[in-house]
Amino acid sequence: MKLEILCAGIGGRGVLLASTILIEAAIAAGLKASASDEYGMSQRGGSVVSLVKIGDFKSPLIGRENAGILLSFEESEFYRNLTFLKRDGRVIVNTHKDALPGEVERLLKERNIRAYLVDGDGIAKQKGMIKASNIAILGYFSSLRIAPYSYENIKQTIVEKTKGKFLEKNLEIFEAGFRQAEGRDQ
């Protein structure tokens, strides 16, 4: 199998942790996986992109309209990286809004791209750790059950990859993200 995932967000908000969890979970599932990160010159608050490739690839880079999944941890970074998402792909956008701009909705529909709008910041804030909105998005993502990912193997990787005092909060937020997805309108 081959799967290309683009994670996009801003510095200091856990984009690289999310991609780490994604490649570690894939490797634990017995697959080849690699990641490539772009974080530019800004240390905090700048655009961050992490490319995740699962399967038999040689390079860690993703071309235009090649990513099957786009995880946007911030809304502007979704637009900035939309050119990488292929037709029939799926995108999760961390936003408090209920709808995307009309032009974008039309484009996604025409390309058969499914978009899920999730208020990851809201979920994480409610649990008292706004910086962990990335984990809420991963919780939501796990509900889509896109191979090789499942609720169980992402959760297990979070347990292995996050440190002591944050672990409990992370799992709580992951759970909340997952449950939000389960309750979504089909």
């Binding site: 908000r13 697959l31 010159m41 800004s42 608050g45 390079s59 860690p60 071309g63």
Partner: protein, 727 residues
Amino acid sequence: MMEKEKSGRKTDAEVMIGNYAIARGLVEAGIELAAAYPGTPSSEILPGIVEFKKREKMNIHTEWSVNERCAMEVAFGAALSGHKAVCMMKQVGLNVALPSFLHGRKKKMEGSLVIVSCDDPGPQSSQTEQDTRLLALLFGIPVYDPASPAEAADLAYYAVQYSFEHKVPVIIRPTHRVSHAREVIPLYPIGGRKVTLQEGVQKQQTAVSSQPSASIIDNRSSIIDETGSSPDASRLTAFGVVASGMSYSIAADVLAELGLANTVPVYKVVQLSVPIIDNRSSIIDDRETGSSPDASRLTPHALRSFIDSVDKVLVLEETDIVIEALTGDSKKIFGRRNGYVPGAGELTYDVIRDIIANVVNETKTAKVESVSDRAIEEALKGVHVQPRPPKLCAGCPHRASFYAMRRAFPDAIFPGDIGCYTLGISMGAVDTCLDMGGSVNLAAGFSDAFVQDGNLVPIIASIGDSTFFHAGLAALYDAVKKQKGFILVIMDNGTTAMTGMQPTPQTGITVDGTYTRTARIEDVVTGLGVEFLRILDPYDIPVMISTIREAYTYLNNQPSAISDQKSVSIIDNRSSIIDETGSSPHASSLTPNGPSGYEPSASNADNRSSIIEDRATSDSPRTSHLVPSFGGPAVIIARRGCILNSKLKPEDICDVGSIEKNCIGCKKCITEFECPALVFDEETKRVVIDDGLCVQCGMCLYACPKQEKGKKLQKQYGKGTTKKKAK
């Protein structure tokens, strides 16, 4: 993650970045000394070596050098005396290290010397995208170009052994995509890695087996199969690809995506080395007989026969023309010289896909349709996308310094330097950015030129603390000796921030985390003979502005030249300076007091001016009796810890709510102060604070005309920083 090993001695594997993979390969090869100066994308290799040496309980000497030349020569010294030594740097750092490299390559080494020089195609975080391989070939030194982190680990291991066996320096040249990619790296015990170069025509990608974890091992064993031999080279095909490094990996993925993996053969170049002594004589012979030198003689035999076996060859390499030049056969080649490959910039996935599609169509190898339309861009046209250009962090002390520099003299010339603070360019407080230490020398040159033209303009140069130690010392001493008239702001944030918080000599912290002697910037500056020195907290913007103006007054009151008689007495003067300044700082700097040697001195946000230390000696009665002060640059040390390293003290935290409350939408805080935590809301036409980024340093209050601090500043120093620059 444990992996069972069938036959070899591999014990484990883990995910790591390419730079750690290189570190792992070096440690497994038994290196004994590693020295480096940090520089993106090379900075993580030395910390990786420290981690693995601790894990494996190895006795490896590791150090951050003050610059690349020190790193190279320390490593070279160890190599001469029989040790296995490595040094690491970024590609432009190799230029700094070159004096020893040119001559050193011919010295008889008892040990081994591996240089890791990381290239930055693009460039993403450098001034140029210079290609290390060109220098390696110029000096006739073998250079390895890894295509992935796993291969980088293997090549690092191999390079140490090769250098030790052949007694020649060797260069490893990873590009940033290799240095910063992450994948599973198998770990071997020390001395237990089995490596064979993957040079030559590569087997096509095999379908993923049902047991995917085995495929990692399969890939590795295939390395051994493919060695040297070029199975497909004999058959003549229309079109083939020669590629090296990350460009090889991308080309393989692109060919698989386009369904051409079995149609187009790819020759992978891993090692480049030109036996210059032998070939050069034959080239000279050619010249003497009137024929042009035959570049094809420089091509390795296997590569030559691959090129002979195809009608047309596409050469993909980063970043310059190297393999393409070596092959020489310009009629056959699609490359940079005939415009098929862009002459500058990174060869990204999209760039390589376009090149291959173009060449495949042109050679009629296959028909590839272009995938991209502009539909996505069209749909996004009306959508507001928050711009995120690179900016200094919210609360960064450099921003306060730059703001003060512009407010003090909006029309000044601002020579800048290399580091985070190069970003001051967008605030109009950095006019030049040449190389490490360049700000000081350029300022001196500007000073001379303006003096000659009789056109006196304030010159305010900036340099960071790590860069000052790296390349500023000799430059500043030169400027002092020659009495150049400029202001130098040393932005001392106590760390090498841009490359990931490596310690500077001032902190006295080593790469291992232990303490050693510290070197305080003020001691160095006074030791070099600077007479005007002020140390201040850049968060106190009014004081910084007035100090810069004071420095300019000082410069203008200096004699423009010194007579012979005076220069004799300068010697007396110098010794008296040492007497006067040697007292307090020296005593403390000799004790290994660790990070306390660096202390941001601000204690009270409202009373910051009290922290100014007047270290100038020119106004002391003793010196003024001897001679009029001998001029030279005025130095201001703007000292406050990097905001990523040290949280604000409670007394430094300001209430910034009034920025939102009193906003009149003039945008001065955004256009002149550029804090990323301030966002202009297009709907309400007012500034909004991003609580996730704001650290409540309150520096923006000085930039706002509606705040008390801003009003006061405006009264004293005029309206802002946007005055037209006279150039």
